[in-house]
Symmetry: C2
Subunit: 399 residues, 2 copies
DNA sequence: GTGAAAGCGCTAACAC
DNA sequence: GTGTTAGCGCTTTCAC
């Protein structure tokens, strides 16, 4: 005999109550006598009854699902590992609130259509968009009668009509500035990963300058070097700074790739990091920890970004209150390039953009102290062999 | 007046037909006179009717959703970028087949429970599990009446009861062997990223040996160096090989992290790569392209893995035919460490584990040829500043 | 505290 | 080709 999955009617019949009563027990809604509740619970257990999500969605008018749209600008492949942290954060929050998370990739200019069509009729109760276009923000501002609520993840103007969450480049800049000031550095230079006018670099630089100006240590305009977004240009600019008549005590790169090039320029000039000049970056790329010296950098939590977006969206869905926007704070990852002494090996940040093995061969206690021999790292030798154990731990591709 | 979303009944009434007829038009099912179809189409358009997915799920008994479970072994953070490629592939295929993709993280030992409870009643029509435990495979083998179909992604025995897809380490090993043989290398050594007995390394090594043996070029047992999964050990082993009385013409590392350490060992011995000895790896980590020299390596497509898993699952769902398992072929990424001449800059692999900017500031034509000056890369200087432009392109954390 | 009735919006099965 | 009937399994509303 084929045993059909038990329905709410089966439970009700067995318990000798109405389906409504069972529904109340299942959803913890309304007043139920403790005795009835207990009896029904037992029967549910016995019959192996599980609510049918689809049916309750239809009847209740809420699917308890959220759509997560990952935007892929033309020609770009949406496999930035940072996204995965965002997804993980979103999924974690969804699970906690007992929502399903429906994921979908889409070109940025199709997002609006997506809300109307694909996710249009009851499939999801709201949408989170990763890195939406600015014009989406405008389109999603108005909350019409049948419009799904939306929360954006990315960089939007403060007066954005649509709620959003973003990383806080400004707090990142401040954090870094404070740390450099604590080191006693007074003369700094900044090498940017882009020309002026690009949001993330602008914000990082501005925050840095503000913090120094607040201490009456204004940074000269000449000490801010914008680039054309290429590494060779960054290298030239870094050389200029380092070989100037009065080299800075610290160089801030506005991202880690740029920081790497700065490190090279400094070395090529015959100076040492951090003894002669400190270097810091932004983003905490997986390789930042492996550089020589390991790079002090600012990290933003994708996990928190995803979690926060879902939190806001679900709150909006369930209470109807407008979601509101937020910038999530940065965190400083102190390694050696800033001049700090060798740090004890840190546990990997549970929420950071860390690569991990698919092979399940991870071992707990294999992290060794990072190399500190100060010797030049050889070609192709990076990282230093003493630098880290457990290669399997970070390998990619072993499924 | 609040304009309610049009239902199938609205369309039917307006068209003067039954709801069933409208349903047929919408789903392209059954024979409909061209005229009726056209009229209904027009009315659908006019009314802005969109099918209610939930309602059709309930009525049709199929949700047109697939659950994607991402397994996180204890204490490990599931943010391996390789996963993101898998997710992307899965999502792409789901979209093509018009399925929704519900994503969910879970400890490996809860996957079985997940199938029964969370995804149990109609929420999804099938499940894909990333890196399930071996015992899940057994549990999912039996296809009972109410059991959701499952496809696994990962390494399972050939006689696995449950259909799975996996990367083909064996083809990867062969590919690499063929290439080394084409270079004319006869004497090779292998440095493994793990002890013997670990599936991925075992398979890679075995395939390599088989290919060489087939040419009557057996690899000596002493030339296979297993490690304790730590980089320092790999470094020691690599030194042993390189400093032996007859150093090999090529060294295969079973993953890229290990390959990096091998590169260092070779340099520390005063030899050059690839002139004195060639080096190749596995996995194509994002950094492989940036090493000096750029690393020739074997890559597996996470995208294809995800796509294939969904393809099989959906086929199983729609036809009822058993899904069957497969190993997806590897691809060789030829750079310079194998002795090949400098390659022209390649477009980023659209499906590979590539990091990309969140900032949307990507520029098209900024890729420059990789550095080939042959100079030692300085401490912390990696990559060479000429090596690559467009730092923003690979930055992480700019949302 | 509990129950009865009336759908949610759609599709399956069969009739015509 | 098209319509009719009967649900899918649950929640909502209101009655008692």
């Amino acid at each position: 005999m084929v045993r059909r999955q038990a329905t709410i009617a089966d439970v009700a019949r067995t318990a000798g109550v109405s389906r409504q009563t069972v529904s109340r027990v299942v959803n913890n809604k309304g007043e139920i006598s403790a005795q009835t509740r207990q009896r029904i619970r037992a029967i549910i257990e016995e019959l192996g009854y599980r609510p049918h999500v689809i049916a309750s969605s239809l009847a209740g008018g809420r699917s308890r699902h959220i759509g997560l749209v990952i935007t892929n600008p033309a020609e770009e492949v949406p496999t930035n590992p940072f996204f995965l942290s965002v997804i993980y954060g979103a999924s974690t929050e969804a699970e906690k609130r007992e929502y399903g998370l429906v994921i979908r990739y889409a070109p940025a200019d199709e997002v609006i259509r997506l809300r109307e069509n694909v996710f249009g009729r009851g499939q999801v109760d709201g949408i989170v968009v990763l890195r939406a276009h600015r014009d989406c923000a405008a389109a999603f501002g108005g909350r019409g009668p049948d419009q799904l609520p939306v929360v954006l993840v990315g960089d939007f103007p403060p007066d954005c009509q649509c709620p959003f969450v973003d990383i806080d480049n400004t707090s990142g800049g401040h954090l870094l500035a404070e740390h450099l000031l604590e080191h006693g550095y007074r003369r700094i230079a900044v090498v940017c990963h882009s020309p002026a006018g690009h949001a993330s670099a602008d914000r990082r630089v501005q925050a840095l300058l503000d913090a120094f100006r607040l201490r009456d240590l204004p940074v000269a305009r000449e000490a801010i070097l914008w680039t054309d977004s290429t590494l060779p240009d960054a290298y030239r600019k870094a050389l200029t700074v380092v070989r100037g008549c009065r080299p800075p005590q610290a160089i801030v790169a506005t991202n880690d790739w740029t920081a790497m090039v700065v490190l090279r320029a400094i070395h090529d000039t015959g100076l040492r990091v951090p003894e002669d000049v400190a270097v810091v970056g932004f983003d905490d790329l997986p390789l930042a920890a492996y550089l020589e010296p390991p790079l002090t950098t600012v990290v933003f939590s994708g996990f928190d970004l995803g979690r926060s977006a879902l939190e806001r969206l679900i709150c909006r869905i369930e209470t109807g209150a407008p979601a509101g926007s937020a910038h999530l704070p940065a965190r400083l990852v102190i390694r050696r390039s800033c001049g700090c002494p060798l740090q004890p090996p840190l546990e990997p940040d549970p929420f950071g953009p860390v690569e991990l093995s698919l092979s399940g061969e991870r071992r707990g206690a294999e992290l060794l102290p990072l190399a500190s021999d100060g010797l030049p790292v050889a070609p192709g030798s990076w990282p230093a062999p003493e630098a880290r154990s457990s290669p399997g731990q970070r390998s990619i591709g072993n499924v």
